[in-house]
């Protein structure tokens, strides 16, 4: 008869080896370079992939178990939040506009991160790096999904949430996050890891997540807060992977250092330009503020990032060259960016407004050297004009930076009264930049950036109208046609917050929830 032999339970380490590196194999009937065609062309030299230290000992079966548990909790809270009309508990309806930006500008990036890590995982010849990238790819997919599910609740009640995937590929301000990630995923696997795994996830992610998640907590948005917390344990893993990857590359060959340094310089700058939208969100869009952008920058970049770069100094890595310019910009960034969205608020899927007097006092206090001198006069003028029924909208499309694709709104480092203009000619064509750093990025790879899809230039080429539009028809209104192409509902999604449908509905519904009339 058969004897039941109790199976020997595998130790954690054994199990880990079997379930990760042991899944790899060496090629036999194809040369390795053909199987991993993207491993060498960036110039990074790796001599021994076995030296890769796995930053987290997690196997796929354990991963599914943890994530499933988190999902159950998350969806229970989201259900409770939506069934109890949780949306009426947020501080005021202006807050929702911050969440619209999150859905249109951040969630699609989670999906792109999924694609990028899947590609990097396929491209790396080392099994350890492959497994880590694969898990992060799945995390990123999960983040996109949980964000969409959490925020879909708001789409039932408020404008501007209805077509974020369509908008991501078209709307002018979304070309900034889109081009950021398109740049990263069209780079090789090593640059992608330095760009997203290290520069974004490790150096800058706190400046994205803390403001949004704490902002949600401060402003009564339990749905957003919950997906934020659910993603947080993943983020910790992602940060560890980014750091491990950098250290591994640098330890493999001294020739890797200048390449990695150039990528860090590039991606820290690109990341900071991308985060300028978070700066304005923190200082202008949260009815209940968490902290100022400047304070967040000082804690998360200057202090934490400073310590990180000190730690990396033993590999020869230096603080990115752009740090000095960012230090000069931190007193100005949020005001300049909010002013830009106020200029072009007619063409966004979210509302803009001028701060109240109380809020201006908060800004004066947080930015004592700049707000009253440079920005308060402008904002008070706009508020007065709006009260007279003459709300300011810029009537002409702006000039854009060829690299970051942001309107050329940034001022000269050290002179906040002058726009910073930089230009260069390449193969007989002129290109313009918002900064020396954006110009350097172009100069390093002009063949890549000459192809930039700049929304303003595309509109003027006639490429941003709905199919079948005849621009020569009498009475043709180009702006209306562009907004239709964006699938933006004119008069509902865009423009001034005061008196908008969101504003009126929120006040009416909250009134019904509190009173018996």
């Amino acid at each position: 008869m058969d004897m039941q032999v109790p199976k020997k339970k595998l130790g954690l380490k054994e199990r880990y080896t079997l379930m990760t590196r042991d899944l790899a194999w060496d090629t036999t009937y194809q040369p390795k370079e053909k199987v991993y065609p993207y491993a060498d062309y960036e110039g990074i030299r790796i001599h021994d992939w076995d030296k890769w230290e796995d930053p987290f000992r997690l196997t796929m079966d354990a991963y599914w178990k943890y994530q499933a548990e988190k999902e159950r909790k998350l969806y229970a809270i989201i259900d409770a939040y939506s069934q109890s009309n949780g949306h009426l508990g947020v501080t005021d309806a202006r807050y929702l506009n911050a969440i619209k930006i999150f859905l249109t500008a951040v969630t699609p990036l989670e999906h792109m991160a999924h694609r990028g890590f899947a590609h990097a995982g396929r491209a790396f010849p080392g099994a350890g790096a492959r497994v880590a990238c694969q898990m992060q790819a799945i995390d990123e997919m999960r983040h996109a999904q949980t964000q969409i599910h959490s925020l879909s609740n708001y789409n039932k009640y408020y404008n501007g949430f209805h077509d974020f995937t369509h908008m991501y590929d078209r709307v002018w301000y979304l070309s900034v996050p889109k081009s950021f990630f398109d740049d990263a995923i069209t780079a090789g696997p090593f640059e992608f890891m330095v760009a997203v795994g290290f520069s974004f996830e490790y150096v800058l992610t706190n400046l994205l997540f803390v403001p949004f998640v704490s902002g949600a907590a401060y402003n009564g948005d339990m749905g957003t807060m919950t997906f934020g917390f659910s993603a947080q344990s993943d983020e910790a893993r992602h940060m560890t992977l980014g750091l491990e990857c950098i250290k591994f590359i640098l330890e493999q060959d001294p020739a890797n250092l200048p390449i990695v340094q150039r990528w860090i310089d590039k991606w820290c700058w690109r990341g900071v330009r991308l985060l300028s939208i978070v700066a304005m969100m923190m200082d202008y869009m949260l009815p209940k503020r968490v902290m100022s952008w400047k304070e967040a920058w000082e804690i998360y970049f200057e202090e934490n990032g400073g310590a990180l770069f000190k730690d990396l100094a033993r590999y020869g890595i230096k603080m990115p060259a752009c740090a000095e310019q960012i230090r000069l910009e931190k007193d100005h960034l949020s005001h300049q960016v909010w002013a830009t969205f106020y200029n072009y608020g007619g063409a966004t899927d979210f509302h803009t407004w001028m701060p109240t007097e109380d809020e201006m006092q908060w800004l004066s206090q947080k930015y004592p050297d700049t707000f009253d001198t440079y920005y308060r006069p402008r904002f008070e003028f706009w508020r007065e004009q709006q009260e007279k029924g003459n709300r300011f909208y810029n009537q002409t499309l702006p000039m854009l930076c060829q690299t970051c694709q942001i309107p050329m709104l940034f001022t000269e480092p050290g002179d906040p009264t002058k726009i910073c203009y930089r230009e260069r000619t390449y193969k007989g064509n002129k290109y313009h930049f918002c900064s020396d750093h954006c110009q350097h990025i172009f100069d390093n790879e002009p063949e890549k950036y000459v192809q930039a899809w700049l929304p303003v230039n595309q509109i003027y080429q006639g490429n941003c109208f709905p199919e079948g539009t005849d621009p020569s028809a009498p009475g043709f209104d180009p702006l209306a046609a562009v907004l239709e192409y964006y699938r933006l509902n004119i008069g509902r999604d865009n423009g001034e917050f005061e008196g908008s449908e969101d504003h009126r509905n929120f006040e009416a519904w909250r009134g019904m929830a509190k009173r018996n009339d």
Binding site: T373, Y374, P398, N457, Q458, Q461
Partner: protein, 119 residues
């Protein structure tokens, strides 16, 4: 290095003048008036008289600003690609040497925006 790529790779510039249906792009910025958050982009035919931009186009773009009506055009200082430059109002863009995607700035001495804040 022109680009990092696995094989020979040449990018196709997306904004060459031929793509603008007879127009060229011209960028115009009004110094010390940051109420207009960035320089403006316009598609103009190269035959357009420069004076027509100032007289017919810019009022629609900048007229909202209280300083606009106060400009003394005989004192305005112009720059092209960051260098001092003098336009001829009665000549066309092409005759003025304004090429595709040129950036032009003008400064209006004595006018520095809302309460002198360069807004």
């Amino acid at each position: 290095m022109q680009v990092a790529a696995v094989k020979d790779y040449v990018g196709v510039p997306r904004d060459v003048v031929d793509n603008f249906h007879g127009n060229q792009l011209v960028f115009i910025g009004w110094d010390d008036h940051l109420m207009f958050c960035a320089p403006l982009a316009f598609p103009f035919p190269p035959t357009l008289r420069f004076g027509d931009i100032v007289e017919k186009v810019l009022p629609g773009a900048y007229g909202y600003h209280p300083d606009w009506a106060k400009i003394d055009w005989s004192k305005v200082e112009w720059m092209k690609s960051g260098e001092p430059w003098t336009p001829h109002f009665n000549r066309s863009l092409a005759e003025n040497g304004i090429g595709h995607k040129d950036a032009i700035r003008f400064r209006t001495p004595g006018l520095t925006g809302i309460q002198g804040s360069c807004s």
